[in-house]
């Protein structure tokens, strides 16, 4: 099975070394094109003016925040059920990246909210559930670091990720369930996107660039983690003679 084939850390390291420059290149090309289209060549919004351009960072960051958490939950489940060490490492390495995406979404949202809504922050359902997601990321990372034995930390935090996954659908549907100040979905919805192509294209380019960026950084972190594990094992061997 392909999945098991690449679950082998050595084989994964070889694949990661090949993939990493590609991901870096894709991120730079797509991100550059997306930023150019978004910041310079796309039209300003008739209502929001130039500040609509914040959206080209805000929306992909928010998507990634949820995507990374979902990915972590899947890897944590795989790690708990089939005891794949690589899945646990992927979950652990994803957390800081996801936390940064969440923070970026909250921060750019605040920058956009001040001129548009007149407030940096409002307590509506979408914003609050994103804040909870940020705390879940922080809790995961804190629990991961809280044990002397790293494998204990990874197992405990895997359970925590799976408990926190209830929040992801709440974030997604918060704009439909509650009457929020945050606008409802305009890209992924029934009947196709209701956003103009001149704005949709840079948005999608940025979304793909954020994804490749995530994979790029994830590969670096996973490689570092695997190597750090090896160093730890070698040191232990040295100590035990």
């Amino acid at each position: 099975m392909l999945f098991h084939r690449f679950a082998n850390p050595t084989r994964f390291l070889r694949l990661a070394a090949v993939l990493q420059p590609w991901m870096a290149g894709l991120t730079i090309v797509l991100g550059g094109a997306g930023l150019y289209l978004g910041l310079l060549s796309s039209p300003a919004d008739y209502q929001q003016g130039e500040s609509v351009r914040i959206m080209y960072v805000h929306v992909p960051a928010a998507w990634m925040a949820m995507f990374v958490y979902t990915g972590m939950a899947v890897s944590a489940a795989v790690g708990l059920i089939w005891k794949h060490p690589l899945a646990e490492v992927i979950a652990k390495s994803s957390a800081p990246i996801g936390a940064c995406f969440t923070f970026l979404a909250l921060f750019t949202g605040a920058l956009w909210g001040k001129p548009m809504w007149g407030a940096w922050w409002v307590w509506d359902a979408r914003l609050t559930s994103m804040l909870v997601l940020f705390f879940l990321y922080l809790g995961y990372m804190a629990l991961n670091e809280a044990f002397d034995d790293p494998s204990r930390g990874i197992k405990a935090s895997s359970i925590l990720v799976l408990v926190g996954v209830v929040n992801v659908p709440i974030i997604k549907f918060s704009v439909d369930w509650w009457n929020t100040l945050h606008q409802p979905a305009s890209v992924f919805k029934m009947g196709g996107p209701s956003i103009d192509p001149s704005m949709l294209w840079p948005l999608l380019l940025m979304a793909v660039a954020f994804n490749t960026y995530y994979v790029w950084v994830l590969l670096i972190r996973v490689r570092a983690e695997i190597i750090a594990n090896r160093v730890r094992v070698l040191r232990l061997k040295q100590v035990h003679g």
């Binding site: 609050t128 922080l138 809790g139 629990l143 809280a146 044990f147 405990a156 935090s157 408990v163 709440i170």
Partner: protein, 221 residues
């Protein structure tokens, strides 16, 4: 079932003999609420407006403070390990401990809440709903909290970590608990909020003991 009752009775007896734990939780609850009139000023209208929220937040905190000891003492003296080895299903044993925690810390909060409502000048129409909402909400708090308490077993700086893990998950119960009381005081029907809180409780009842015992198992491994 017999195992469930035995563990519950053991925990209750322990709580009774070691005494102070549940008294401390209630004392914290009262003192935390009493701080608010000093913080926001003794204006009766303001206090009445924020009473439900303050009582709920304090209830959340004091329920969380006592959680750390839910598994910790048993983990340290080794009885938790015996529990996992015993023929009783671990999920049932964990549920018994959670029920014990709620009886010793959640129930006293519900009793103390109306008194604090009086101190904060809360409208009298809200009292029955406050008690009802706390009665529906605090068991969920104990259930969710048990997962966190099991996860931090054997970690460094457990207490602070527990609050970071658990408080974000408490937020939905806080929101609906407060809005149920505020709805009744404002003259609306609080049935939707109560139904949602009942839903939380029904979902947490099977899922949380399951997750907590998974955490206990990997802690004693």
């Amino acid at each position: 079932m017999i195992g469930f009752i035995h563990i519950l009775r053991r925990d209750l007896r322990l709580a009774q003999r070691q005494g102070m734990d549940s008294v401390m939780a209630v004392m914290f609850f009262v003192i935390a609420v009493v701080l608010f009139p000093f913080g926001v000023g003794p204006e009766p209208n303001i206090l009445a407006r924020i009473a439900a929220g303050v009582i709920w937040v304090a209830a959340l905190m004091s329920s969380m403070l006592s959680l750390e000891r839910l598994f910790q003492t048993d983990y340290e003296d080794g009885s938790l390990e015996l529990l996992t080895l015993s023929p009783i299903t671990l999920e049932i044993a964990v549920l018994a401990k959670i029920v014990g925690h709620w009886l010793t810390t959640g129930l006293p909060l519900i009793v103390a809440a109306p008194l604090l409502g009086v101190l904060l000048n809360m409208p009298v129409d809200g009292f029955p709903m406050l008690i009802l909402a706390l009665a529906l909400g605090t068991p969920s708090l104990s259930l969710i909290g048990a997962v966190g308490a099991a996860l931090i077993l054997g970690s460094r700086r457990g207490g602070v970590l527990l609050s970071l893990l658990i408080l974000p998950l408490y937020i939905p119960i806080l929101i609906f608990g407060v809005s149920a009381v505020d709805a009744v005081i404002g003259g609306f029907d609080a049935k939707p909020q109560l139904l949602i809180m009942g839903g939380f409780l029904l979902a947490a009842l099977p899922l949380c003991p399951w997750a907590a015992s998974a955490a206990v198992r990997q802690a004693v491994e």
